[in-house]
Symmetry: C2
DNA sequence: GTGGGTTATAAGTGAAATACGTAAGTTATA
DNA sequence: TATAACTTACGTATTTCACTTATAACCCAC
């Protein structure tokens, strides 16, 4: 069985040495190399891309998220594990968005670090309990926002009006709407006028935006 | 110390009995009552709202999510714990969105159920490991989509064209745009035609949606 | 430095679409 | 049953669309 090849990026010598010390005794891992800056990191991994890249967020010349983005594109076989003292949701979200497969706080244990390395090496994601909690909080927050933003009050339109608005906001012109609903084009226009009046909208552009905001149509 | 008052909603007698059997021996809890439908549930909790409402998703006359919504508004002091055999992300998301404080699969253990009850009674959220994993997967997926959706490729428009599109998508009609930019209305029309041709858009509605998707204007 | 591509400007023209005020017939519902 | 709300419709004025043509400015390459 081949060993998991690790590359370490952290701007503190002591931290790198600490991580190495934690990993050295695991005989299914091998430390391929290390770097203290983004520049050094890219120079070295170009020679031999590792299986797992352990990244700090804050670095002298760049940050772990930028490195993650580039690595995800240029070395898709390399999986990124973020190891950071920063645990705020923005960093986590942006790391994941950039393509990180795992995120650990710096006060993690040796066992957790090893679990994380193995998990992401096997194609899974790994987030420590504390990071998971932060992500779940964010999930809950976003789920609730999902309800608050889109509609400030019920839609005060009739069934027919919503029907017209939906078709219009889907891109049909009045003639097509009148054909589909088998009514006069004038009626379609009137309905649209009523909608605009009711909602106090001044242009068809606002009408379309209203339809999107209120999920009458997809964007 | 007062006991945590529980109310059970599930359309299967056997399930309700099972849950009661699991909880009966905990002397810091008391089963206030139970219901097998939404209607019955609302009738009974109106008399004495519980601290924790344990809800099934599927019910004969409604569903747990609708009940959650109403309870969250009408009885804010009552916390909802969803206990469902359905573990797909949509149900979880919508439950949380509706105001549920916890979500457990039906194959949960007595210990986990008790932990969940105590957690949400204390104002925390509680999701079982399996549910948490589903939520985290979704978090990761959404984080990645966050980058993919907004732009599939760079905007192939000139500065002037973007300027025209921006004003149009803000709701100005051609005449107003021509006045603001101090150009002929024919020029505005020509620009708009060019934009439509370039982007292969068939209606002004699509034009507006394009502008929103590509963040040329706010929704 | 001349030709070619891109951009920004403008116009003609007929057809198509829309805006807006008005109004009649139909349901709900109080 | 009276009133409000909803759906339907038209006339006229305005606006936009679709397609074509045209000119000046600019940049870039050969």
């Amino acid at each position: 069985m081949s060993k998991i090849r690790i590359f370490l990026v952290d701007d503190h010598q002591l931290v790198r040495d600490g991580i190495k010390a934690l990993l050295i005794s695991s005989d299914d891992l091998i430390i391929l190399g290390e770097a203290s800056s983004g520049k050094e990191c890219f120079e070295k991994i170009a020679i031999e891309p590792p299986d797992v890249l352990i990244l700090d967020i804050s670095l002298p010349d760049t940050n772990g998220i930028e490195i993650t983005k580039r690595v995800s594109v240029d070395y898709p076989q390399t999986r990124v594990l973020i190891l950071s003292m920063y645990t705020n949701e923005d960093f986590i979200f942006n790391s994941v968005k950039a393509g990180a497969r795992g995120y650990l706080p710096k006060n993690t244990s040796r066992e957790e670090l090893l679990s994380a390395i193995h998990a992401i090496y096997n194609g899974d994601e790994f987030f420590s309990d504390s990071i998971s909690r932060i992500m779940l909080k964010s999930y809950v927050r976003k789920a609730k926002e999902d309800d608050l933003l889109p509609q400030r009050g019920p839609i005060p339109l009739t069934t027919r009006e919503i029907e017209i608005l939906k078709l219009f906001a889907e891109g049909y012109i009045n003639k097509e709407i009148s054909d589909q609903l088998d009514i006069s084009i004038r009626t379609v226009e009137t309905h649209k006028n009523h909608i605009m009046k009711k909602l106090e909208l001044k242009s068809t552009v606002e009408l379309i935006k209203y339809a999107i905001r209120n999920k009458i149509v997809e964007l």
